[in-house]
């Protein structure tokens, strides 16, 4: 086994890199094309987006949705994962099974049921993104938050930490708050960042339930304005990229980057 560089592999990787970078480069070029002449080079597209209030509104909605989803998701799952790791290992396969459900009930199927069940609920829930969509997004994000948290919990020895804390006289609340939570910060952060990427990119449920989130806005610009959408695409990519890099950096504590749901 040589330790020299294998040229074939490197060439192949560079070819692959080209395939993946070309669409991004093309989008960048598009973003500099003017709507009138269809050629380079202008920053008008960027200006148009920045001055469109609908853009800011949609970003705000998506971002707030993400935050809410993260909070609710963590609140629901941190205790759950903690108990499963500490006392209820038998629940693990149950939750593992639940985590497979998104594979079998993808967003497009899920939204059918959602709209049906909650059609008659009051407006403050059904018509507002912060009610209906958040609820759906928590379900979408749950497998990713779960696996991130679980990896974090497994990396620390939950039993020993809890027992040590209790033997020193701490109550459950103190143990959870002062001992356990600080140690899974990295995993929770990874889960949060994954959720952020997912929510900022989720189109299916949002569009079919007619909410104006960021991805829905991108499609609107795509259909109606053309070139300016490229600026949004680059922004969207940038957000995802930033989130993933942050996860990899935070994930020196055991969490792994996984696939989200923006398909």
């Amino acid at each position: 086994m040589r330790r020299r560089i294998a040229p074939g592999a490197v060439v192949w990787l560079l070819v692959a890199a080209a395939y993946f970078l070309i669409p991004l480069v093309a989008t960048s070029i598009y973003s500099l094309r003017s709507n009138e002449t269809g050629t380079c080079c202008t920053l008008a597209n960027y200006g148009e987006i920045i001055h469109d209030p609908a853009f800011w509104k949609s970003i705000r909605i998506s971002f707030v949705l993400a935050l809410e989803t993260i909070v609710i998701g963590l609140v629901l799952l941190v205790p759950t994962v903690y108990w499963v790791n500490l006392k209820l290992p038998r629940l693990r396969p149950v939750i593992g099974f639940l985590a497979l459900i998104p594979f079998v009930v993808p967003p497009i199927v899920y939204v059918v049921g959602l709209l049906d069940v909650f059609r008659d609920t009051p407006d403050w829930f059904y018509a507002k993104p912060y009610g209906f969509l958040v609820v759906a997004y928590v379900i979408l994000a749950f497998p990713y938050i779960y696996f991130a948290l679980d990896a974090g919990f497994r990396a620390i020895d939950v039993h020993t930490l809890t027992e040590a804390s209790q033997s020193l006289g701490a109550s459950w609340r103190t143990t959870l708050g002062r001992v356990i939570l600080p140690n899974i910060r990295g995993a929770a952060l990874a889960g949060a960042l994954l959720t952020l990427a997912i929510v900022m990119g989720e189109y299916t449920i949002a569009s079919l339930a007619t909410f104006d989130t960021f991805p829905v806005y991108i499609q609107y610009v795509n259909e109606n304005k053309g070139f300016p959408a490229s600026a949004l695409v680059l922004l969207s990519f940038g957000i995802t990229w930033a989130a993933m890099v942050a996860i990899v950096l935070a994930g020196r504590g055991g969490a792994q980057a996984q696939v989200g749901g923006a398909r």
Binding site: V10, K87, L91, V112, T204, S207, T240
Partner: protein
Amino acid sequence: MWLGTLPFFAYALVFLFLPAGQVMVGAFRDVEGGFTLDNLRTLFDEPYRTGFRQSIEVSLVTALVGGLLGFLIAYAAIREGTPRFLRSALTTFSAVAANFGGIPLAFAFIATLGTIGVVTQFMTEQLGWNPYDHGFSLFSKTGVELAYLYFQIPLMVIVMSPAIDGLRREWREAAASLGASSFQFWRHIGVPILMPSLLSAVILLFGNSFAAYATAYGLTAGFVNLVPIQIGFYLSGDVLDNPHLGQALAVGMFVVLAVMMLLYVPLQRRASRWAR
């Protein structure tokens, strides 16, 4: 004690099982509210029949092609002889690319290979060959497949990397010391060991592709006949007479995906048996 887990399960019950159950049940209802199998029977008529066929075709193609390419890329990056930074770059990029789908991806491909896309124009002007004159169109099933590969390949890389990593260097060296060539190693040891992981990864890719909606919609505004697109039409109010048809379509998708899942789970278990 287990009260700590209760909120979560209650939440899942109300917001996951209830809607999912509603879909299952609704598919078997007719307009008056009685039980019927008609909705499901309609799935075998056009255009739904073609929709399922095309969805399965697209998923197969992107799963197999994406699987093969993803595996080769992952292997190229992980094997000895590749600089370390390339491997880290690949890992990070795969994580990003696997999540970069939907509308932004569709637009990026339009910018690349659309009628006035950058690459299209490059080929027309510099190479004198316009793909659109030769039967190619991005806004078709082929275009969708091409775009899907953009997140399928990275997904394969992410899923297969641990398995390839688990191919111990000692096995390779032991095989060599026993006289085996590279081909013999792969044939008798490498591929058999990786096979469960490979198969389960390809199944994952299939499911991923089958369920995708946003990318196809962004590319074709709904003009390609795939099952998720049909469901989308139904929900946007385009199918008027039978509200339960959309649910039947959803159940159809669910069945396909459930079959995939039944294949996936035992394969995954087999794969982890050798990961020591």
